[in-house]
């Protein structure tokens, strides 16, 4: 049998490759389109939950009726106001971000009405190393934040009882811990700027 013309052969190979790519790409895109609503809903629910946790309103199991209605967007982009029962601001939530070791760390930082004291911190997105940097997302790490006052620094080794402006870093994850510190400090500054701008009606 005569050997096929090389160009024809190459064209066949390319056609096969293009066809395979088209098939696989459409399968993957199809799966993405089928789940996109679910994914968006997940992200929305995750953000809501993070807001409530950072505000100190989510005690875990039982959310009180109407708690969600106490969140208002503003003042400023990426900042939420927590209203008390009589409709006055009882705290603020700042959606902050900072570059971590592997990627962006995003989180909700909750402050009291003056923006001088933390009510809680909850991370919504990070790609830190599992077992090391990813431990910032564990309850044990996040539990130390309520009550702390900005500007923050990482607690020194000799400080067994961390003062109110310092928090314990995650051992073996210094870069991640510093990123969390930056995230908190930037959020505090943003809130202060927004509150000052807001004070003049």
């Amino acid at each position: 049998m005569k050997r096929r013309f090389p160009l024809q052969r190459q064209a066949a190979i390319m056609a096969f490759m293009v066809g395979m790519t088209a098939v696989v790409t459409s399968l993957v895109s199809g799966a993405h389109l089928l789940t996109i609503e679910k994914v968006m809903a997940n992200q929305e629910r995750q953000l809501r939950r993070a807001l409530l946790i950072a505000a100190g309103l989510d005690a875990g199991a039982g959310l009180r009726e109407g708690t969600e209605e106490r969140l208002r967007e503003g003042p400023g982009a990426g900042i939420w106001t927590v209203l008390s029962d009589d409709g006055r601001p009882q705290g603020y939530l700042v959606i902050g971000q900072a570059p971590g070791l592997w990627g962006r760390i995003r989180g909700v930082v909750g402050f009291d009405a003056e923006g001088r004291r933390l009510t809680g911190v909850e991370f919504t997105e990070h790609n830190e190393t599992p077992g090391l940097g990813a431990r910032i997302d564990e309850a044990e790490f996040k539990r130390q934040f309520p009550g702390k006052r900005p500007p923050f620094r990482l607690a020194g080794e000799a400080e067994s009882e961390a003062p109110t402006d310092a928090f314990d870093a995650v051992t073996g994850a210094t870069i991640t811990s510093a990123a969390v510190r930056d995230l908190l400090n930037k959020s505090a500054e943003r809130l202060q700027r927004a509150l000052k701008g807001d004070a003049v009606p």
Binding site: F16, H32, V39, N42, W102, N127, A134
Partner: protein, 208 residues
């Protein structure tokens, strides 16, 4: 004949030709995720799904895949399945998806899957490729789960996130960190090889 052959293929993947402790493949993920049993279980399920599906698909297509671009086709098929796993986890298990982070995507580069596709699926029928993929996936999984039990228990004092060793336990943090993965894997390989290969040569013996 096919039954006995399929059985041999399946069992050799679990023992004599085990992808992890004999062929030493897929070590990156072995070291990375085994400090938590839950993450390991999800990782193993993802890998099992991918290796079985890619083996069967590539085996079914093997007569049409041009020899020159076979690796591109293999990677394409594998990547497609891995993205399906990623999308599925993102939609239905967002918390686990968040924890595993980049590791799900890295299943694409797991040498076991590519190895089985290239070495087995390209020249065997889909039925046998299915058995081979299942064997390789399970052979990988049980070793990883074993390591995860050791590392999570000693490293964190927990199992599947539940404390098991009591409050007095001092965590062996080194086992939870990357070097701990090397230690546990090395000890495991040493024990298994010492136990199973020391009684004289056995056919093909230890992998080269």
């Amino acid at each position: 004949m096919s039954g006995g052959r399929a059985g041999r293929i399946f069992w050799s993947n679990l023992g004599r030709d085990n992808p992890v402790f004999v062929q030493i493949l897929g070590i990156c993920s072995t070291l990375a995720v085994t400090n938590s049993l839950r993450n390991t279980a999800v990782m193993c399920a993802g890998l099992l799904f991918t290796v079985v599906c890619s083996n069967v698909s590539i085996s079914a297509l093997r007569r049409w895949i041009p020899g020159r671009v076979r690796m591109m086709v293999e990677v394409l098929v594998i990547a497609g399945y891995v993205i399906l796993v990623d999308v599925f986890l993102k939609a239905y298990a967002p918390d686990i998806w968040r924890q595993l982070g980049p590791y799900v995507g890295l299943i694409i580069t797991n040498c076991i899957i590519m190895g089985r596709a290239e070495a087995f699926a390209m020249n065997h029928p889909p039925g046998l490729a299915f058995v081979d993929g299942l064997g390789a996936g399970l052979g990988y999984s049980y070793v990883l789960l074993l390591m995860a039990v050791v590392r999570e228990t000693l490293g964190y004092g927990t199992l599947w996130g539940v404390p098991v060793l009591g409050a007095g336990w001092v965590n062996w943090t080194v086992l939870a960190m990357a070097p701990g993965g090397f230690f546990v894997l090395a000890l495991l390989i040493w024990c298994i090889r010492g136990f199973s290969f020391s009684r004289g040569p056995r056919g093909r013996g230890v992998a080269s």
